[in-house]
Amino acid sequence: MEEKLYLYPVWLRIWHWINGLFFLILLFTGLSLQYSSVEYPLIRFDIAVSFHNISGIILTIGFIMFLIGNKFTKNGKFYRINWSIILIELIKQFRYYTWGIFKHEKSPFPINTERKFNPLQKISYVGAMYILMPILIISGFGLIFPELLPGRVFQISGIHLTGLIHIIAGFALSVFMLIHIYFCTIGKTPTSNFKSMINGWH
């Protein structure tokens, strides 16, 4: 078919798999903390706390690496949203995923060197990486250093508010990941996107 495109530079692949691995650790330890119980300990509480903290720090370092990478390499341009047309594009892509794909239509936004993501991918990646991740990371560090948090905000304790924000952001990102992994199976073959993320070539 078309010629191969080199879309995923090495730093991005390293970041992505570190990110994915530690996100999963955070997810499982986080769930274990939130649903801790005396009778059914998923993971021992103090171990879960340590793993969660350490993984959070590694994830943050990775995230900073991602920000720097996107700032100083060409990869950043794929994340720029053109707000004037995004809505129409999104509808088109949405129609494709809910209808066209079953009728073997051609993807409305085929991948090329100028466009790595379709509009839905783009908006969800931007939402995940530039909105949810910062919220998750900042609230997470707030919980590691609770003495830095405000004592109370509108009647409830600062730690509590931060905890809620952290849990909601973590939950939203977990849902994102589920959908993300599923949509990655929509490639030339169900596994081709995963191979791309390993060897870099699309």
Binding site: S36, D46, I101, F102, K103, E147, S157, I167, I179, I186
Partner: protein, 318 residues
């Protein structure tokens, strides 16, 4: 008629507010005993005291033994503020120099006055004594370790029962333990052991400073007792609570100890479990939100179903 009542309201409110300081004062009022106590406190309430030396015929100024100093402000806030010193101490102490034999006088015990008294039944003094006698402190030091060791006779006041500020209660109660466990002089009154630093022996506890300001020593070191408000059976260190989930879980032990007095409601109207804790704290694992749980299960479920339907349709139309 109705209109007039409305005018009455601010007037009433105003009078109430006007009386408030007076009402408050009444509670903190210095009792009648004060003038009698002043005779003792003029020496025992000051760093320096004076007496007349009859031999040489002159006024002498001397330093008060710091261990015999009594903070009168604390004294008049204590449970026994209405007492005259000589209710507990021999009236011979009115003379100075005190008779050397007086120091041999036996002291009252809590139970001497409170035992079998209906008025104090809700404190369960007998049960407390029983637990105390089974505690490490009592078993290892028998007679020397009395209730007074923790309940300073000149400043003890109930806190957990009537103070709504949990933070203050925690500090007050922990200071009792730390008066020995962070003070080698009082500690060695009872033992020749060197006092291990509690900050070091609790290093396994993460966010230690936070924990020590948010939970009491007795939460981990006493056997939980459903009948009395403050459990008194301090156990050997091997039996101390070490498992994090005992607090960090939905049936947190804190509900049976620190928050016992208020823990009537398990789940608040906003859906938070163990909501009584929330006023001051947020304890991972103990304060889950019911609605958040439900919403997250539904969203996860729908996502999952959506993905499966999409995958099946893709497979069929391949």
């Amino acid at each position: 008629m109705q209109k007039r009542q409305i005018y009455l309201l601010p007037a009433l409110l105003f009078t109430f507010l006007w009386c408030l300081p007076v009402l408050c004062l009444a509670e903190e009022e210095i009792p009648e005993s004060a003038s009698q106590n002043q005779k003792c406190l003029k020496c025992h309430g000051q760093r320096f005291y004076f007496y007349h030396n009859e031999f040489v015929g002159k006024e002498v100024k001397d330093r008060m033994n710091p261990y015999f100093l009594i903070d009168s402000a604390q004294y008049y806030k204590s449970n026994h503020r209405s007492f005259v010193c000589t209710d507990c101490h021999s009236s011979d102490y009115r003379n100075f120099p005190h008779d050397g034999n007086l120091r041999m006088e036996p002291k009252f015990n809590c139970l001497d006055c409170h035992g079998g008294d209906e008025t104090y039944a809700h404190f369960h003094f007998e049960k407390i004594e029983e637990e105390f006698l089974a505690s490490v402190h009592s078993t290892k030091h028998s007679e020397d370790f009395t209730c007074w060791m923790c309940h300073n006779p000149h400043s003890y006041r109930i806190s957990a029962r009537n103070n709504e500020n949990i933070g203050e209660v925690i500090v007050y109660d922990n200071d009792i333990c730390l008066s020995c466990h962070a003070n080698i002089e009082k500690y060695q009154l009872l033992t020749n052991l060197t006092n291990p630093n509690v900050l070091v022996t609790h290093e396994w506890l993460p966010n230690q400073a936070l924990h020590f300001s948010k939970v009491r020593c007795i939460e981990c070191h006493t056997e939980v007792d459903r009948d009395i408000l403050v459990a008194h059976k301090v156990q050997e260190k091997e039996k101390a609570v070490r498992k994090c989930v005992e607090c960090h879980s939905q049936n947190s032990l804190l509900m049976a100890t620190l928050y016992k007095f208020e823990s009537v409601e398990k789940r608040s109207s906003l859906g938070f479990f163990n909501a009584t804790i929330l006023g001051e704290h947020y304890i991972i694992g103990a304060n889950r939100n019911y609605y958040l749980n439900v919403v997250s299960f539904i969203v996860f479920g729908l996502t999952f179903i959506g993905i499966i339907i999409h995958a099946i349709l893709r497979f069929i139309n391949k």
